[in-house]
Symmetry: C2
Subunit: 370 residues, 2 copies
């Protein structure tokens, strides 16, 4: 008995035509370890936007009920060659109620429960999810649990990764984001130093009110001096950046190196021997990452993704991280939403334009049955 | 009884005035583990040029006997702030004969021997060197041994590092350089795959004559296709780049990712899970390193320097590497020189202009007593 419901699909054709539309689909009965989740809430995270809208020309797109068609400009269209012609679902994560289960014990145990899940097609009325990756939410609402995975596990992942690498402090280039606020609370709880970079005074105020001691405003005249002082005080030669393009990473490396050089007693043409480590975990800026030759050779920059990290961290660590998220879902790991939209509403021009801007503290929640 | 001789010094003042001059200095008697080496030959490596000339305006410099004064343009002058006002020696490595020794057994054992050494002031008639870092050259000439350290140990270091990281193949962005030719021979001897990128047909010919099987000319119309094919054939998702600025690393990552994606059966918005690793070990191009957002998050880029690598590799590995260099000094690790200049000749306009261009296969050798 297949279940029928609405689901969002996004398709890019080789000529650069992006079609995002709601369709009626039928969901198969779950088998084995699978469960069928009636989705109640799913956030629109920056990591969802790349596939959902990307760099499409929304201003000149054509909108109709539950659908829009937009042009994907070059070089972004060519850069997405691998998805040309594929009809793809969207929505990494969400929460809902398990309404059908496969025949494994793990799956059966979830029948009727509200769970958070990571199905990859969360912008949908139903999703098939793996029982092992579902987090039972107990008495929490679907809205409480909708963002229980991506941001909480990523922020926790930063802290875990730093500890694995023997670090006592972290630098974060977008301190006031939803994820940045979680990271601020995590670092406080774990006694890790944290340098929070923000772009505005109100963001700095927000973080300071949360008790963040090293908040640096990149719009300030004395930004580099402040950044150096914060790195000096915390020892944060290790950081995470979701911007990707431009000079966010370069600036962090520069400040780290300047702190390290100021501690050297002898000049070296090769710069300091202080290892400097940055990770790019997002692409809020899809421009080129620019690295200047001004911090020697003692630096490493990597891409960072949640799933490969969890895989390398191992099951025991992941289970511990998930328990911590669940135990603190409405405190440390709370997410806030600016607006709630159903599947049709999320494809209107106003909504797309607004959530694609990815403004700090203005996250959207998709509620597919509202 | 101090020994007197000529030595090169390079000084940059805060106003951007670079003075490079030969001076008469007196060298102290060696103590303990030190030896005094009468230098006979020292190469001008790219790694020496940064401190020797850097980006100075040679065209409009003023030249006199054993001296030139040039302007260091911005932002390079400001970028060299840490050396402002310091009078620095130059020349990483060279070879000569030990003419005086400290009282340790290690030092005494070297008396009268011809050695290769890494004193940091090799553009000099005498150098104080640590006995432990001297490589006795036996019957080899000083010219044979002058470049026994930087290029041989760096090329060997790449192979060692690749093996430590479980790699079977290396990509090198400047295949036809002196170091690239050494790497080609090392990879052949060790059974490591090697992708050599060159810029010219004659460089490609040179490497092919040496038996290099995967030589790709970046000036060719089908460069990316050829590069992908070479990566596919060798499995080289791990490479070294001495250019630094521009898109050399970006191009390598792109080609690696395209090979990895072509092997995937399912599309992923995050790119392939194939780890891609590049190291920047030089700055032939002092412009910005540009990284495009077109190869997912499964990549890591680091600076690479010989001394930190040797330190992390440990004494046993370093001893094995040094023995291999000495055993194959005129074959695998042979260096060739375009010109021989004494200390005064190396500071003429023609010479500086020529060696600063760092043309492939046109290395200079400084012979301070000629």
């Amino acid at each position: 008995m297949a279940t029928t419901g609405k689901q969002l699909f996004t398709t890019l054709t080789p000529d650069g035509t992006l079609t995002v539309a709601i369709e009626d689909v039928s969901f198969p009965d779950p088998t084995g370890n699978q469960v069928l989740v009636k989705m109640e809430a799913a956030p629109i995270n920056p990591s969802d936007l790349a596939i959902l809208v990307g760099a499409a020309d929304i201003e000149n797109a054509s909108f109709s009920e539950g659908k829009f068609v937009a042009n994907m400009p070059e070089p972004f269209n060519k850069g997405s060659k691998a998805r040309h012609g594929l009809k793809l679902p969207a929505g990494n994560e969400g929460a809902g109620t398990v309404v059908a289960v496969g025949d494994s014990d793990k799956a059966k145990a979830l029948m009727g429960q509200r769970v958070a899940c990571v199905p990859g097609n969360a912008y949908s009325q139903y999703c098939i999810a793996d029982a092992g990756s579902c987090l039972p939410l107990g008495d929490h609402s679907a809205e409480d649990g909708a963002s229980a995975f991506v941001n909480p596990m990523t922020a926790l992942g930063f802290a875990e990764n730093a500890k694995m690498d023997g670090q006592n402090a972290i630098l974060h280039t977008v301190g006031a984001s939803n994820l940045g606020q979680m990271l601020t609370r995590i670092c406080q709880e774990d006694g890790l130093g944290l340098v929070n970079i923000v772009r505005k005074d109100d963001q700095a105020e927000l973080l300071k009110k949360m008790g963040s001691t090293h908040v640096v405003n990149s719009a300030g005249d004395d930004f580099m001096a402040q950044l150096r002082a914060a790195i000096e005080a915390t020892g944060a030669f290790y950081g995470f950046d979701p911007i990707g393009g431009g000079k966010a990473v370069d600036t962090a490396f520069k400040a780290m190196e300047q702190v390290a050089v100021s501690r050297m007693t002898e000049y070296s043409r090769y710069g300091s021997t202080q290892p400097k480590r940055m990770f790019i975990y997002g692409r809020l800026d899809t421009g080129m990452t620019m690295l200047s030759p001004s911090y020697g050779f003692g630096w490493t920059l990597s891409g960072w993704l949640l799933f490969p990290f969890l895989q390398s961290a191992g099951g025991e660590t992941v289970a511990r991280m998930r328990k911590r998220v669940l135990d603190n879902l409405t405190t440390t790991f709370a997410s806030h939403y600016k607006a709630r939209v159903n599947l049709e509403e999320m494809l209107t021009k106003d909504a797309v334009t607004d959530y694609r801007a990815m403004k700090t503290g203005e996250k959207y929640l998709v509620t597919p049955w509202s």
